[in-house]
Symmetry: D2
Subunit: 84 residues, 4 copies
């Protein structure tokens, strides 16, 4: 699993072969975020993406929305790992 | 192989699980195209992408640039097929 | 206006400065399409994007869904025209 | 100007109307970064993007590569500001 809890936030770190793949992953997550209307706080440096999830509307705590989003992101990431 | 030749063009057809994956694939191809400065003529409808390659500067014929681009695109697509 | 009707389809053509801007426009349209769950049939060649809208579920006719999507796309495009 | 210098880094902060526009901006910057092979360290939260530029290969100092990238990013951002 890619997620840890810290300071009422779910934090996931994801590593890819290169920027192009990291960016494709981020593109899928962006579409998911917009569809769910629940947007991550995220950071990218070349092949590395760190995603932080918390529910601002509930006072910055981890809610069911964050857990579902984390599951969706993990499912997207899983497919990138089959890549050689 | 995903490519066929027709009317001095290389044509490839690529099918995905859904729009989100087709779009992630297109995003990787867009970055490759910009890096190579060789842009495809392409069409998308939901989970389906059709890519046509030809070298306009050489009078719309298939050149080495097109074959290399086709190889690069096939390599990107290959990784999407490991996805379940 | 960028849209014409032909064979029960709404067709729009959009021209940009370069591929990078055409791609940014397409990215915004992709997110809108996924949010509305109504996806265009579209074609891109470098700085040019042609978008065809029709409602497949209603037997390939133009419906209110297409007109709303066309309005949303026009609104996105409008902002690109202020660019120098 | 959107850039400040701090700890041998160029830092720029960019605010947009919504996530969709922030994402379109990031997409243009991603393509520029890949073309220049000079990638930012960047963070996004909904309509806000913070970009940090430094040259890792030169020992994490600000070089001409960073200043040129900052100029390119500012030029992209400028066009988003004409939007209403």
């Amino acid at each position: 699993m890619n997620w840890t809890e810290k300071d009422n936030k779910l934090i996931g770190e994801f590593v890819f072969e290169d920027f192009s793949q990291a960016w494709a992953f981020m593109t899928e997550v962006a579409i998911l975020a917009e569809r769910k209307n629940h947007h991550p706080d995220w950071t990218n440096l070349w092949n590395r993406v760190v995603i932080t999830l918390t529910t601002h509307d509930e006072g910055d705590i981890i809610t069911e929305k964050d857990r579902k989003m984390a599951d969706g992101i993990s499912k997207i990431f899983e497919r990138y790992q089959y890549r050689t």
